[in-house]
Amino acid sequence: MKSRRKMEPPRIITPSAGKTSFPDVVRLGNGVPVYLLGGGTVDLIRIEFVLNAGQIMEETHMAASVANAMLTEGTVSHDAITLNDLIDSTGAVFNHTAEKDTASLVVITLSRKLEEVMELAGEVLFHPSFPENELRMLKEKKIQAFLTGRQKTSVIGREQFYMALCGKDNPYGRITRLEDFDALTSAVTRDFHSRFYRPENMYITVSGREPESALPVLSKCFSGSCQWHKAEIPQLAFETSPPGRIFAEVNGSVQSAVRMGWKGITRDHHDYHGLQVANMILGGYFGSRLMRNIREEKGYTYGIHSVTGAFHGIGFIVIMTEVANEYREETLKEIRKEIAELRINPVSTDELQTVRNHFMGEIARMFDGPFSSAEAVRGLIDYDTDHDYYSRLISTIETITPEKITELFNTYYNPDEAVEVIAGAK
């Protein structure tokens, strides 16, 4: 019998990232930009409304997330129960979240229900009523989630790292305290909403089979007048902690969250793309140095990852993992060892080629289908990134050399500058 081991393995075709072009944009009568992403096989349409209404815009901590969560808790025309019943009866899904930099409402609906669903979306975005009773219940729920978070090593580890990176008064670094919930009155929430949930402060992405068919409905529902100027992103002050160890005790935990990181670069920096490739080698995919060493050779963890990213005004590099309490020092030592190795020895061409191909496949998956493409494009719009971001990233992936990668590790990965966070049992 012939064995597969005697058969020639299939020839691998170098993957290409495929089409990553920036979508067409049209404007509603009032100037709201609408990005159209066509394709797919099902009669669903996804509409995302993105507003400059994230945490960086807030004066009162958590105002952004509470204003966003309250969108479906009642409007001037419908109480919470009736409103939700109307939405759910259409079969549509309304997902609304406030993040650090933006807030959004994603609606996925059967194409034939688009009109009634968009009328509800307009009501939810621009005419919520912020009823006191619903606000009280929401706050109680958020407090419960906050207290549950105090038991999670991963949550504490993340908070401590971003506080050390950005400062305790910076919106990216601020850690929620129980007393912060007291300030969240309906007046604060209303005020935040009236300032930032405005057409001039919003863009829309439409993805699905025939996205342009949604335009008449969008014009009808979202062409309200624009009077104010777009809200400016505030200038943020950063106060980065000096290098060193931060220990946060989480009583009785069987694992510790370990975070090691430092300041990086923002998206407009010429090394940002190259850094994505370097980071992938260290800890950005399953075959990364860290994963192979700390999971697949030592078995200390279920997973370890390295991330390089950026907010407005600050970039960061962070390595994160959850390990048994007894392995945490050893894990930190091994992370340092892996970085030191990459600072000295250039990666082999085989390893670099693997990372290149994997990265191309990843980009191809990001743009696979209209819904994923809409998510990928959002990242570009939110950070005012050049429309050719992905084509430049692709060319960096294709041309970066092992020497350049060594140089990037020497420039940007210096564990002596690291903040090390351990959240776990003593």
């Binding site: 019998m1 394709g39 096989t41 419960q144 549950t148 999971r295 693997t354 496949g361 191809a364």
Partner: protein, 417 residues
Amino acid sequence: MLMIEFKRHTLPNGLRVIAHHDASTPMVTTDLLYDVGSRDEDPEATGFAHLFEHLMFGGTDGVPAFDTPVMMAGGENNAFTNNDITNYFITLPANNLETALWLEADRMEGLDLSESRLRIQKSVVTEEYRQRYLNQPYGDLMLLLRPLAFRRHPYMWPAIGKDISHIEKADSRRVKEFYHRHYNPSNAILCVAGNVHPDQVFSMAEKWFGDIAPGRRIIRNLPQEPPQTERREITARRKVPAAHLVMAFHTEKRESRAFYVLDLLTDILSGCDSGRFPEILVRKKELFSEADIYLSGEIDPGLVIFSGRLRNGADISKAEEAVRDELDKISTRQVTAAELDKARNRYEASRLMSYVSAGNKAFNLAFQELLGDANGINTEIERYMSVTAAEITECSATTFRPGNCSVIHYLPESHEE
């Protein structure tokens, strides 16, 4: 209604192959489903199927690291194990499909089961156990529920295993036996979905899997769970900020009418914000901060599980009574036409959402084939749409009997009951 078209072909060695052509994507997903889950484990060696899933990434003589060629081909891959099945999937550019098939065939036959590999993956799984179940507030709820609800059927332990010590004790003799018994064409279903023609899929499958020895199809003879006649209850105390209530009821197997009836019913009760539980238990009575009911979804008779986080200060017995009231209501009075209509619309939309990605379609086709016929992916719609209000009442009355209930009162350590 969207129909998912597919073709099916069984190789002479018993491997069932399904192909679905989706020209809208440049990618392709291979889904290889092995008909083995934690229900097939020895009660003294649980967690084995899942541990084995980890070993499947260890490489073979010919391919020392499974992931490297996948990454080289621009792919990503992963796997999961549950009580019924172990499922492996690779998504990669369609023109590299053959690489995925080569790798899957290679590890179906020639896996490297070295001692050192086993030792490391035992440690990784132990950390997974800690990360997902022990180091999370409320993380052990399902570890508590299964042995309470099941006394004979192997669903009494979760896929991760009954206890970490079982994983620590796993030895290589057993690992090898397990591999030879379950990992063969007779016990596997391969589905390929994406930008490739079915004929090409079949010829590549023949080329790479065709000469693997068939193995023996496993015929199960699992201990059946006797009907539960008396309420069971346990109380657990943990370091958590709020109490949690779980109530679980035995139901029928996956391929029963009851499954579809209860799937729609649970959507009416808690599938969306306007469901009865969010409206009554969360908003009106203010007993819970979240209240959910869902089917555990196993192939053999499984559970329908109520799971609710209590509001601070709410009394757990009162909360349980309120859930009981709702279950009694649904068991005696028919749901309204509007509720049923809403559930049907929601089902239609969620079905379409699940077919946005070729990878999801691949898994669904393979799983339906395991249940008996891949075309279930299309005929299921009718099974959902034909559910009547009268059936819901009848099925609720049978399911939500007080004697058929296992209850967990999960309380904060300081809590006085």
